[in-house]
Symmetry: D2
Subunit: 161 residues, 4 copies
């Protein structure tokens, strides 16, 4: 299993000099979760962006990185705003892997609980998941085209056909 960190709110940290929350170019938030495990999970970082700033090329890079990885099962930590677009780009290209997207509505550095729950549930779900691209957010688990962000209330819902 590999955790691929693309950035997003999950990772944001407060910079006291700028007064802004920034996506750092590191995996500290993910490491804080993984360090509670008996066995470490490999982490790889790419892009490190707010998902609103992700371009078509960024999604191509993400999909290519997943397709070319030696790992069969990949957890993608990603911003929530365009998680669906990236999941679709990956689904179009990588058919023989189990890919689970997750992220957070509140940075791990501000409130660890939601971010930790999302990442850990994604990992637990991935253990038995079928090939394909899935989203696990806020207790909702399913195919990437069924787990949808409700922007008005900041929640992810499972949407039936």
């Amino acid at each position: 299993m590999l955790i691929l960190n693309t950035g997003g709110t999950f990772n944001k940290r407060y910079n006291p000099l700028s007064g802004e929350l920034e996506v750092p170019c590191d995996d500290a938030a993910i490491i804080s979760v993984i360090s509670t495990f008996s066995e470490p999970i490999k982490i790889q970082g790419i892009l490190y962006k707010d998902s609103l700033e992700m371009t078509h090329d960024d999604r191509e890079l993400l999909a290519a990185t997943i397709c070319q990885s030696d790992e069969k099962c990949i957890i993608v930590v990603h911003g929530t705003d365009t998680m669906d677009q990236s999941a679709q780009a990956v689904a179009a290209q990588c058919r023989d892997k189990t890919v689970v997207f997750t992220g957070a509505m509140v940075p791990f550095s501000i409130d660890a609980v939601e971010a930790t729950a999302n990442l850990a549930m994604a990992i637990g779900y991935a253990r038995n998941a079928s090939n394909g691209v899935h989203i696990v957010m806020q207790g909702v688990c399913g195919s990437y085209d069924r787990v949808i962000k409700n922007r008005a209330c900041g929640k992810f819902d499972y949407v039936q056909d």
Copy 2:
């Protein structure tokens, strides 16, 4: 899905008057995790004990409660010291359910990350798990007779045949 809270370190809170960590007769720690979900998961509390104090009768009650539940999939929050004994008691009696035991080495009230990760991973794992009794702790997921607490170093390991 049902979360059955039996107590254990996961739930312990500090009592400033006694200076001791106590297992409270409530589900506050679990609720803190579940409240980050889009949809609540039902929680039921029984026993509320440190697992070192669990008796044979307590385990019979736990197994009976699970067998008689309407839910097919049950997460059991339990102390780590005798989690294996309770899991065995449940496995001997409930064959047609998916039961996942979890807990924490550090109380949620002291450090939320490990406890949150364990519970959320147990829930994610349970979504696709087969019938039987499983343990999910510290990133390790598997049958209850394979996931073993190493008391010397305070870690759970997966033990092969």
Copy 3:
């Protein structure tokens, strides 16, 4: 003693819908500190602004509120960027009170330690402080024209003549 809350970084909270840190129109962060006390301290809220947005009129209102208060000793929670300007405006008008400005470089909601330390030290310092306007930030206590924010490194220093 009165705590006068004008807003600033001390109070900021994350809004998951906007993805921004906002100055809320409440005193929740201050109340979290004060609730550890045996006796509550009275809190009054005005302005609730990021200090970069404070106008001349806002400072006049702040000074008038302090001058007209029944309390002899007033702690002002304020943003750090223009704390010096507000302190100067108050010093020009209120000569017979003990006023102590404080705030935080990191929101209480992100890391409680610095914000709590600043506010509590300000209160402890105020118990025996002389009439006049003081600043207490990051362990530095003194007259408002001696405790200066070093913007390059985000630290407050005591500056000798």
Copy 4:
């Protein structure tokens, strides 16, 4: 100024192997507070005990350490249960120093707010305090024989003559 760390609840940390809260032989909790300051304050550790375990000899050592220190102003971090006895022992021997006892009802590692507020308020209070032995706990500041722990409700009160 010197911070003299004798141990007590302020410093306690959870040991996952024993399941107990322990007074560690280090100053990590105090350092977490002090690291938010522009200038570090010197810390010295002695005894590192739960205050219920402090003996007459321990109090003699504490008083001697304070009397012989080069520092004029000393903050003592101490367990709350026998803080009054140690303060009395120090008061009997050290008349020309400003000594402020503080501590916490809840370990810094469990909830940082009360412990941080107590220590920071003690430091702020000490800046202008007269010679003598004082206690600062939970917002209450005063002579050691006026600030009394109410064991029934776990609060410190200021007691008039």
